[in-house]
């Protein structure tokens, strides 16, 4: 539990769209299952007064917070308006925004994340699946049926690849403390380092799986930060230079961030790198 627990109260911005409504339902079903509060209010400008799966919708974050107590927002607002929504949440004193939205212009993300930091608000994402602490709290869109509670923290830049790894862990009898998808964009709020800092403070987490991708150097920076036992996997070993592999961040440019040199740097720092996702459980077991 590094981003909240059963007692966390959540609002959803972009509540009335397909994605927003669908995931309010899933988040609240999970909250019911584990005995948590879940989503207490939704926000969509111009749609105040409606209900989505029995959750009341307000025109603004401010109006929602006048009626409900909440610390966290999950964002399903379209890319063109998502930067603004992050700033709205931060301005109104929320502690955490989980931005699921993809295709946010980079300049908007930069500005919004920079502003949120000034307001003391943490941002997970954008372009991420959110976070799940099995048995406690789901913020975002991760499927819950693949995971079981346990002691391994999972941090990843990908969505479905995370599910793949969590599935492998669960099948091998290794439970998870918190799973965090930090997002695949070039500019993201919570980085590997930020999440690892939280894992270090978390008494439940005994080891960490870090799933990275080509592009940038956030994985190396993160992995060398922690004293926790750590297994990494880097996707994109076969990615050709200058081709963007889906995630805007996953691009090998100017000889920087290619998987081979990333893996070399990680191994040089004494960090275990798995060749393929299915090797991760065995490598973890050897460590624990």
């Amino acid at each position: 539990m590094i981003y909240g627990d059963k007692s966390t109260k959540v609002i959803v911005q972009g509540a009335t769209g397909n994605q927003g409504a669908f995931h309010i339902d899933l988040m609240n079903r999970y909250a019911e299952e584990v005995g948590g509060f879940g989503v207490v209010a939704g926000v969509t400008p111009g749609k105040g007064g409606q209900e989505v799966h029995s959750v009341p919708v307000y025109n603004s974050v401010r109006e929602a917070l006048l009626e409900h107590d909440a610390s966290t927002s999950v964002l399903f607002v379209p890319g063109s308006a998502a930067g603004d929504s992050v700033m709205e949440a931060a301005y109104n004193g929320l502690e955490l925004v989980v931005a699921i939205t993809e295709h946010i212009p980079v300049h908007d993300a930069m500005k919004a994340i920079s502003y949120a930091r000034l307001e003391g608000c943490s941002v997970i994402g954008p372009n991420c699946p959110g976070t799940l602490s099995p048995g406690e709290l789901k913020l975002g869109i991760m499927p819950v049926n693949l995971s079981v509670p346990g002691n391994v923290g999972v941090i990843s830049r990908s969505g479905t690849l995370t599910y793949e790894v969590v599935n492998e862990l669960t099948r091998a009898g290794i439970g998870q403390s918190t799973i965090v998808g930090i997002g695949g964009d070039p500019i993201i709020g919570q980085t590997f380092v930020d999440v690892l800092e939280r894992f270090e403070q978390d008494s439940q987490t005994k080891a960490v799986v870090l799933i990275g991708e080509v592009g940038g150097n956030l994985e190396e920076e993160g992995a060398s930060y922690t004293d926790l036992p750590i297994v990494t996997y880097i996707a994109g070993v076969s990615a050709p230079p200058e081709k963007r592999m889906g995630h805007a961040g996953a691009i090998v440019a100017g000889g920087e961030g290619d998987a081979a040199s990333k893996i070399r740097r990680l191994e040089a720092a004494g960090i275990t790198v798995a060749d393929k996702p299915s090797d991760i459980p065995r490598l973890l077991e050897e460590m624990l």
């Binding site: 899933l26 890319g79 063109s80 295709h103 946010i104 212009p105 980079v106 300049h107 908007d108 930069m110 500005k111 920079s114 502003y115 000034l118 869109i141 991760m142 499927p143 819950v144 049926n145 990843s156 830049r157 990908s158 969505g159 479905t160 690849l161 995370t162 599910y163 793949e164 599935n167 695949g184 070039p186 500019i187 993201i188 980085t191 799933i211 991708e213 080509v214 940038g216 150097n217 956030l218 920076e221 996707a235 994109g236 070993v237 076969s238 990615a239 050709p240 081709k243 963007r244 592999m245 889906g246 995630h247 961040g249 996953a250 100017g254 998987a259 060749d275 393929k276 996702p277 299915s278």
Partner: protein
């Protein structure tokens, strides 16, 4: 999307960054009287998106009299394999000194970083490697509209102050154009002032909609069709087609193919919650690529419904082999549909990839 030099210079001009007098031609006969206002010599610059254009023969300096002849020569060339369709005809600037300036994204600091060097016209990556001290860097908080004077002094480090306003204008262009990279190499001083002798702008694909750009030129036709369907799609040159959901999982599938000795033909991420039609479109699109023997469909997740996926695969009805790995909602129904039609179903990512590699020609 990368803008060509003349497009970037149009934007520069509007933002008060001086550029040389010039015009664009698509054949040598379009050189007209305008050239007589450019002095004795002009520069012909091929408008192609390649680095090291000058060294590759993409720039010709000529006197006005031979301009047409030299333009014909330049049009006949290929610059690093790219045919020349447009030429920028520009006055030859009386250059005194050359500098380098660029603004790009520092992902780790989550801020724009401005790079400046007192030597321009160079390969900046080489300068960064061989003489890192020659490169000045400052980071600017994205909430600032202008580069503060102290930061500019630090960046310029004693170089003529008149470069300051141009660099500040470039920062504004960077912000207002949703640029991922704004670069002037070289930025030059002349007796008549400071000029951007070259111009490079890369616009964020996610912001094209508000930059008035309707068609992303950087994509192939198939890639553009894929974009319309909402897929992330990249063409490679192997024989195994790949369809996955999520960038990471799809990339990882590509890696496994290479791990087991195969070659992927493409990267296609169908995105979250793909239904019957999306899957059908994806399978068809990949099957149309020349040289694809077998297609892997590797879909996993909570939103994606396996029965829909299965129906999509069946509906596409392609001639190549399809190897499927499905996990998620309605998995049993999906398997049933595919089994009836005789499709190859495998349980894990490793298995589906191994199977496809064994079926593909190398």
């Amino acid at each position: 999307m990368k803008l060509l030099e003349f497009e970037a210079k149009e934007i520069f001009k509007k933002s008060g960054i001086p550029v040389g007098i010039g015009f664009v031609i698509t054949n040598p006969d379009e050189i007209d009287d305008r050239i007589n206002y450019m002095g004795g010599e002009v520069v012909l610059k091929a408008q192609v998106d390649v680095g090291g254009r000058g060294k590759a023969g993409g720039v010709i300096i000529t006197d006005v009299k031979s301009a047409r002849e030299n333009a014909a020569l330049l049009f006949s060339r290929e610059i690093k394999g790219i045919p020349v369709e447009k030429i920028l005809v520009e006055e030859k600037l009386p250059i005194e000194n050359e500098y380098y300036v660029s603004i790009t994204l520092d992902r780790a600091k989550k801020e724009p970083v401005i790079l400046f060097s007192a030597t321009g016209g160079v390969d900046i990556e080489q300068t960064a490697r061989e003489n890192p001290d020659a490169l000045q860097r400052v980071w600017i908080a994205p909430v600032l509209h202008d580069i503060p004077p102290f930061m500019m002094r630090r960046l310029l480090n004693g170089v003529p102050k008149e470069l300051g306003p141009v660099i500040n204008s470039l920062y504004r262009v960077y912000c207002e154009s949703d640029a991922l990279l704004a670069e002037i190499n070289p930025l030059v001083t002349t007796p008549k002032g400071v000029y951007a002798a070259d111009a490079k702008l890369i616009v964020d694909d996610n912001a094209l909609y508000r930059q008035g750009i309707e068609v992303n030129r950087d994509l192939t036709d198939r890639e553009r069709r894929a974009e319309k369907f909402g897929f992330s799609y990249v063409e490679l040159d192997g024989s195994i087609g790949v369809i996955g959901n999520g960038a990471g999982l799809t990339m990882s599938t590509l890696d496994l193919i290479s791990h087991y000795g195969g070659k992927a033909a493409n990267f296609l991420d169908v995105g979250g919650g793909a239904g019957e039609d999306r899957v059908c479109n994806a399978v068809k699109l990949v099957s149309e690529m020349p040289g694809v023997d077998v297609i892997i469909v590797n879909l996993l997740g909570g939103i994606t419904r396996c029965d829909e996926v299965a129906r999509g695969i069946v509906k596409a009805g392609i001639s190549q082999k399809v190897a499927v790995r499905l996990a998620g909602t309605n998995e049993a129904e999906g398997r049933e549909i595919l089994k009836k039609q005789g499709y190859m179903m495998l349980d894990t990512m490793d298995d589906v990839v191994k199977y496809a590699v064994s079926e593909a020609s190398l």
